[in-house]
């Protein structure tokens, strides 16, 4: 009876207790790691924010055109603050994942492993989006100024289209990096892009034959272009 009592009741209870203690210590470990992550993250945010302000990071972003865009979208109060928040987020996320890993359950360990494997793709996609946004802004402005200086009537439309295409390209590349709907997105983009180019070519051919002739003439017969050009001598 005593043996039965030992095997059937006390031993499972002991194991349960040990498991509970182990789980509690893992949970405590996770909580400590997350708390540590929060504190270190906050400290890192303050440090990065102040450091970037000292290095005039906001001025650089303003020059690149990112600053006004961040302000316009209301994402953050400044680029330095946004960068500091990103650092804080990464530290907290890392602490959270380390905490989950400390739980030592197969499910959490599997989740952590998958997140860590996926994280580089997320970062690469973010970089692609940021570079794409900068490039679309720069090229859009180039197209706008060049089109206005060439007296093209739909300069703003051309600029908007340039920005749209560059940004679309960046989004497609980012989604491809993340492995989201890879084939569908590429096919959709190819159809959209091909369709627009064809439509543009047909529209140009039908509606702007004279312009096309003038453009070709100016390229291959510069004398003819000069005759048409204003005779101003600026220098």
């Amino acid at each position: 009876m005593n043996r039965f009592w030992q095997q059937a009741v006390l031993s499972p209870l002991r194991e349960l207790g040990q498991q509970a203690i182990s789980s509690l210590s893992s949970l405590m470990g996770m909580l400590i790691l997350v708390l540590l992550g929060l504190v270190v993250g906050w400290l890192a945010k303050e440090l990065v924010y102040r450091g970037l302000r000292l290095l005039r990071f906001d001025r650089l972003c303003d020059r690149l055109g990112v600053g006004p865009e961040i302000e316009r979208l209301g994402v953050a109060r400044s680029c330095s603050y946004l960068a500091a928040q990103v650092v804080q987020g990464i530290i907290i996320l890392t602490a959270l994942l380390a905490g989950l890993n400390a739980m030592r359950s197969p499910w959490t360990q599997n989740l952590v492993e998958r997140v860590f494997l996926y994280l580089p793709h997320v970062l690469a996609a973010l970089v692609i989006l940021v570079v794409g946004a900068l490039a679309s802004r720069f090229l859009g402005r180039s197209a706008l100024i060049a089109a206005v200086n060439a007296r093209m009537p739909s300069a703003r439309l051309l600029s908007a289209l340039t920005r749209f295409f560059v940004m679309t390209l960046a989004v497609v590349a980012a989604l491809d990096e993340l492995g989201i709907g890879r084939t569908t997105i590429i096919v959709a983009f190819a159809i959209l892009f091909g369709g627009l180019v064809t439509a543009g070519a047909i529209a140009f051919g039908l509606a702007a034959r004279d312009l096309a002739r003038d453009l070709l003439q100016s390229q291959f017969r510069p004398g003819a272009k000069q005759e048409a050009e204003n005779t101003l001598r600026h220098l």
């Binding site: 402005r141 100024i145 206005v148 200086n149 007296r151 204003n230 600026h234 220098l235």
Partner: protein, 429 residues
Amino acid sequence: MTEDILKESVKDELSTVGPVEIIVGIPSYKNARTIGHVVKAAQAGLLNSFPDRKALIVNSDGGSKDGTPEVVEQARIDAHSLLLVSHPLYPVHRLTTPYHGLPGKGSAFRMLFRIAEVTQARALAVVDADLRSITPEWLNLLLQPILALGFDYVAPYYKRHKHDGTITNSIVYPLTRALYGRRIRQPIGGEFGISARLAGHFLTRDVWNTDVARYGIDIWMTTTAIAENFKVCQSYLGAKIHDSKDPGSDLSGMLVQVVGSVFSLMENYESMWRNVLGSLPAPLFGFPFEVGLEPVPIDVQRTFASFQQGVRDLLPIYERVLTPQQVKDLEAYAAESIGRFVLPDELWVALIYSFALAYHRRVFDREHLVKSLTPLYLGWVTSFARQTENETSAQVDDRIEKLCLVYEQLKPYLINQWSLKTGEKRCEA
């Protein structure tokens, strides 16, 4: 200077020629049509005005494939036809050599400065290879102030049609004058006289791998000479008729090259121009005579349409560069009919100062910034052409003088705003 830009073959030729007193430099690129005339005029000028001085004509070429160096070699004048008062003591030597470094006029000048240094020349005259109106007297006018009067830098002074050189008249001359306090009427003229001292000084500057080597040499030399207190003067050369400088370059490209260079030099000489208010005339040599000028027609409908489109389509850009009041004023003027359109000098100068400030603060890409000035400049051209339609040359000169005074009057605004940081609120001019 660590690297020597002269090839051994050039050094050999120079050692054969020996020391000279005068060098006439002719930078060229595909100027076979006109350079023969320029070489002959230079040779005649040297024989006429400096018969007792040893001289060398140097063609610094950018790799022309149209036979430019051959034309230079073959260009000869008949000394008997010149009716020389004195018999020349030395023959005029000549040398054609491709220049070394970045492709551009500045690299050609660097080569000329170096040759002047090696040959111990006292004075250097540089003339464009595309000139059609050069006469032998030009050499005397560019060199004599250096050799006889001790000047370091001789800028040209031309008679030009009232609508010729609108970038020079609207921005380069008045802005350079207001900034550095000297009235050099043609700061980017193309023809210059330079003393050995100044040429040597230019050589020591670390600019030969920058835009100065490519296209900004004219304004860089003028600004450096004035800002660094070299003795500067002007010589009246009459009319300047030449082949089109660069038919391929568009207006916005020209603005980037010229106005971008002026803005860029403002950074280098900030400490100098911030202490200058007003301006002083630079001595003018030569006899100002009247010349027939080729008219320069302006299609004001077209320039005004460009201005209106620019104000409409580039507004988001202007809002980042200009003050709210300037943007409001621009919108109001762009809404006018062409018959009533006049851009006030005060607004024009405030716009240029705002662009200079935006360039200084790198509000956005500098090339974009200067290119976006194009429609506003065409607005000024429209206004100027309308106002001067029936004016004489003297009246137009007065008008430009008035514009220069506005640049000088508004300069304190530029000085005050220059030190403000990017985020700080700017006040109106």
